[in-house]
């Protein structure tokens, strides 16, 4: 029996569907959730969520949040989440450049500004990394036997 997986970000429903296993970037380390897992509440860090169903895999970037696990459903409340297939590489590239330039200009005026730049940098790095590694089409050739 598969487990239901729902990924919601603050502004939309990112994914809804069944899965054989869901791999989450928990704050204490990666965890793979199988059906009939006990109730669990965990915070998430920046990373990739992998949803495997049959032979197919879907990958999502997640920028923190929490996940609630019940025996037959996983609810992921992400601060921000995105399907890897939908990442706009050009935009992420531009965001990274902006953040790097801001850092190169010297130390930011206050902690908040510094944190904002750091978050932007982390986010764009995560996106670029994810797009490079998991994308079926794009910079790297897709995995064998899969077509877009």
């Amino acid at each position: 029996m598969p487990i239901r997986c729902e990924i919601v970000s603050q502004d939309k429903m990112v994914f809804e569907g069944d899965a054989d296993i869901v791999i989450l970037p928990g704050s204490e380390g990666e965890m793979g959730i199988l059906p009939n897992h006990g109730p669990l509440l965990t915070s998430l860090k920046y990373g990739i969520i992998t949803v495997r169903m049959g032979g197919r895999e879907e990958h999502f970037t997640v920028a923190g949040g929490i996940a609630e696990v019940q025996p037959d459903i996983i609810t992921i409340l992400a601060d921000a989440a995105e399907n890897v297939e939908e990442i706009d590489v050009a935009r992420a590239e531009a965001a990274r450049k902006r953040a790097e330039e801001a850092l190169a200009k010297g130390p930011p005026p206050d902690t908040d500004a510094y944190l904002a730049i750091e978050a932007a940098l982390r986010r764009s790095n995560l996106r670029l990394e994810a797009a490079k590694r998991y994308r079926r089409s794009g910079p790297k050739p897709g995995r064998v036997g899969e077509e877009r």
Binding site: Q10, G38, P39, S43
Partner: protein
């Protein structure tokens, strides 16, 4: 009977009013579209967050788990967050929500105080001599969570330091363009809630066993419970804004229709009056000509 000139002026002024109300209707129509898009975008997250909260609240031993989950044995002070609008001209929108809120909390033995979101609501509450402890107005259109999180935080803080023993939320729920309904919800302490609304919920057997927490129980509950509670306030504000614009749009459309009907009626009266004067003038001229002709014939 007013003079023809007065009637002309009246017609012109009513026509002007209809133009203004039509413009306002168009403005509201575009605002309501944006507001509805915003409210629908955040609904899944808010609903799921609420679901998680109620699951936590439904665990065995929840009362000792977190202060925001524990019910007070005696409710002496009730805090009500009421969401209204800053501007009027929205039909019965503000009146309805305030009347609903005050009726709902009337006759309680507990002391009821209000947090007013929106200027109109604040004014109405003060006029009814209610106790308003805080006011938030001039919210930006389509606010972000950061813009309004202070409201939720205030409610949580008041609950935690004992100023309030219960916190309720009253707002206008946006159902569709012509239907908006006042809603009241208990925000704190958290309870296993009524099944909630229009986001489709996956049916599942809900295990009432205690959770495993990662990292620690304290960290995660301290992080999510206040934030998700504030999030409910945020969602309520978005619902209320969509309702406000929809209510205003409908009110303005009715005003335009009424004005145009009035113009038609006035125009009819004016035409009648004008025709009457023409007839009278003609009679005068005819009578005058007759008299002249008769005088000429006698000479």
């Amino acid at each position: 009977m007013p003079s023809a000139r007065e009637m002309r002026m009246r017609i012109r002024s009513v026509k002007n009013i209809s133009q203004v109300t039509r413009a306002l209707e168009a403005v509201s129509a575009s605002k309501v579209r944006k507001a509805v898009a915003a409210v629908q975008a955040t609904r899944p997250y808010a609903t799921k967050a609420w679901q998680v909260l109620t699951h936590i609240a439904g665990q065995p031993g929840q009362a000792t788990l977190h202060p925001l989950l524990s019910r007070r044995p005696e409710v002496r002070n009730v805090l009500v967050v009421v969401i209204s609008s800053d501007r009027g001209l929205a039909g019965a929108y503000n009146t309805n929500i305030i009347r609903y809120a005050t009726q709902r909390f009337e006759g309680l033995t507990a002391n009821v105080s209000y947090i007013a979101v929106g200027r109109k609501g604040r004014d109405m509450l003060l006029r009814r001599r209610k106790q308003v402890i805080a006011e938030f107005s001039n919210l930006p259109p389509a606010p972000s969570f950061a813009d309004v999180s202070a409201i939720g935080r205030l409610a949580v803080d008041d609950f935690l330091n004992g100023v309030a023993d219960e916190v309720w939320l009253v707002y206008t729920d946006f159902i569709n363009m012509v239907r908006q309904e006042p809603v009241v919800r208990k925000l704190l302490p958290l309870e296993i809630g009524e099944a909630q609304d229009r986001v489709q919920v996956f049916e599942h057997q809900h295990l009432k066993a205690a959770y495993i927490y990662e990292p620690g129980e304290r960290e995660i509950l301290d992080n999510i419970i206040p934030r998700f509670t504030a999030l409910q306030v945020y969602q309520a504000i978005l619902e209320a804004q969509a309702s406000e614009h929809a209510a205003r749009m409908v009110a303005m459309r009715n005003a335009t229709d009424n004005a145009l009907e009035l113009v038609g009626q006035l125009q009819l009266d004016y035409n009648k009056a004008r025709q009457q004067t023409i007839t009278n003038d003609l009679l005068d001229i005819a009578g005058g000509a007759e008299a002249l002709a008769r005088a000429n014939a006698q000479q």
